[in-house]
């Protein structure tokens, strides 16, 4: 695969058998607007395609890097290339919008005609603000665990992302980890490609289990923690699941909602804290009254954060739980 390449933001989903791999295509993306083919070997190799097919993967996300875009600037020899690229870009925007987070779990049909995409409605100032503030998070997807491919030596980055499909680098999940997760009944993981700030190095690859009965918070925590370089190996919705999984997986961090159906978060922490001495417990709750906070800390939580949880709040608290001088130590 050669040196590590920067994956740009532009991408689209294509049938795997339409991907073109090979050294000869390293320097350009050969594409057409119908979505039939394009991709260079620097993003995906022939071997990767074979592996994906072996896993029953039918579609893959492919991305243009920024330097590719530069190379696609119109030249005298190819006066229409920029037009093609613009068309692809429009399709990508529409396609990205058509794929909701939920639908990412199952691969939507890939249209071969750009005319089927609905033109996006003009964004209001509020929506524009929303788009601007969240743009950095777009390259992410939740994936079914049995579709995560490990051991592909894809270096530091997840190469392609899609719903039911795909690919994670062995630096993110090992086959052993996947097997353990499957044994635990965990059916999906969250994978994101992003640039992790240097200051978050102490959090890098720390394993986390998130326990919350709210789908939204599980989803958001997974996103935030991945963006901090952590590995969310489980998103669970009950205290019972949390206890069973944590005892087997022994995560570095257990994020647990205090108010859970059945065994509540405080009892989860009380039961697990003595048995998982190396695990940090972070209690969260929408209820930020004094009693809830005190009871959470009394139950053994290392820290408490009130919802809604924001990046700027979470980051320093996690760095406090995992200080830089302990970054090298691990319980496994």
């Amino acid at each position: 695969m050669g040196e590590k390449k920067q994956i740009g933001e532009l991408g689209r989903k294509l049938p795997v058998d339409k991907l073109i791999a090979g050294d000869k295509l390293f320097d350009e993306v050969r594409g057409n607007t119908g979505g039939q083919l394009f991709m260079a070997g620097e993003v995906i190799s022939e071997n990767d395609i074979k592996t994906m097919k072996n896993f029953g993967v039918e579609n893959a996300w492919v991305y243009f890097s920024d330097d590719m875009k530069t190379r696609l600037e119109p030249s005298e020899s190819s006066p229409t290339f920029q037009t093609i690229f613009d068309d692809i870009e429009k399709d990508i925007d529409s396609l990205r919008g058509a794929v909701s987070p939920q639908s990412k779990l199952e691969p939507p049909a890939v249209s071969t005609s750009k005319t089927t995409f609905e033109a996006p409605t003009p964004a209001t100032p509020f929506q524009q603000q929303s788009q601007k503030k969240t743009k950095q998070f777009v390259r992410s997807a939740k994936m079914k665990i049995d579709k995560v491919v490990a051991g592909m030596a894809l270096a530091e980055e997840v190469r392609s992302i899609s719903g039911a499909i795909i690919i994670a680098a062995d630096t993110i999940l090992s086959q052993d980890q996947i097997d353990r997760l499957v044994e635990l009944g965990i059916t999906s993981v969250f994978i994101e490609t992003c640039d992790i700030p240097k200051e978050l190095d102490p959090l890098r690859k720390k394993t986390v289990i998130v326990v919350d009965d709210s789908l939204f918070f599980r989803h958001m925590f997974a996103k935030m923690l991945y963006r901090m370089g952590m590995l969310v190996c489980g998103e669970l919705k009950s205290g019972e699941e949390a206890i069973n999984s944590a005892l087997i997986y022994k995560p570095d961090l257990l994020v647990v909602d205090i108010h859970l159906p059945g065994i509540d978060g405080r009892d989860v922490i009380k039961k697990l804290r003595p048995r998982l001495p190396n695990t940090k417990f972070l209690a969260v709750s929408s209820h930020k009254d004094r009693d809830t906070i005190i009871e959470s800390l009394k139950s053994g939580a290392h820290d408490f954060i009130a919802k809604p949880i924001q990046w700027d709040t979470l980051k320093p608290r996690l760095l406090k739980l995992f200080p830089a001088d302990q970054a090298a130590s691990s319980q496994r």
């Binding site: 709210s214 930020k288 809604p308």
Partner: protein, 165 residues
């Protein structure tokens, strides 16, 4: 309905919406609804309140606004429809607003619990209350969207005796 029951909601609504959207909503003049039924916008978030007080909080907002809020909460570039994740996000906003308000209520001795939030979508949805519990409305403007927070509360003891004022 006593004003002191509404104050925690006033505080909670603006603070939670600002935290979740990073935009401070502009609050309009709070008013008392004429009666029932009243009509909500395309999306309504329901959270029930039990305990010393009984009733519910209904947040009514346009679909586009709900999608924009969900996009911000989910850190997505754009949300085009209220799918499972988006519904969960805005439901959580309703949950946080109500949970936060109940803390304020507990500080004045009104211990309340809340029910899990529900999200209902549709057009011209009519809300009725057989008990005719009075509804206070907090109108908000977020960007160019209008949001209404309807708070219908009555003291549980009062409800048991059949009085609703």
């Amino acid at each position: 309905m006593k004003a002191e029951y509404i104050n925690p909601f006033l505080k909670s609504v603006t603070s939670i919406i600002e935290q979740t959207t990073n935009e401070k909503p502009v609050m309009g003049k709070v008013f008392l609804r004429d009666g029932y039924p009243y009509t909500t916008d395309e999306v309504a978030i329901f959270v029930g309140i039990t305990g010393f007080l009984s009733g519910q909080l209904v947040i009514s907002l346009p679909m586009a606004c709900a999608c924009s809020i969900a996009a911000l909460m989910l850190m997505e570039e754009k949300v085009y429809e209220l799918d499972e994740y988006a519904q969960s996000a805005i439901a959580e906003m309703g949950n946080m607003i109500t949970a936060n308000a109940t803390i304020g209520l507990s500080e004045i001795g009104c211990i309340c619990n809340i029910t899990p939030p529900s999200v209902i979508t549709g057009s011209k949805m009519e809300i009725s209350s057989p008990q005719k519990i009075r509804t206070v409305v907090i109108p908000l403007t977020l960007g160019d969207s209008k949001i209404e927070v309807n708070i219908s509360l009555i003291e549980t003891a009062e409800l048991a005796t059949g009085s609703n004022r």
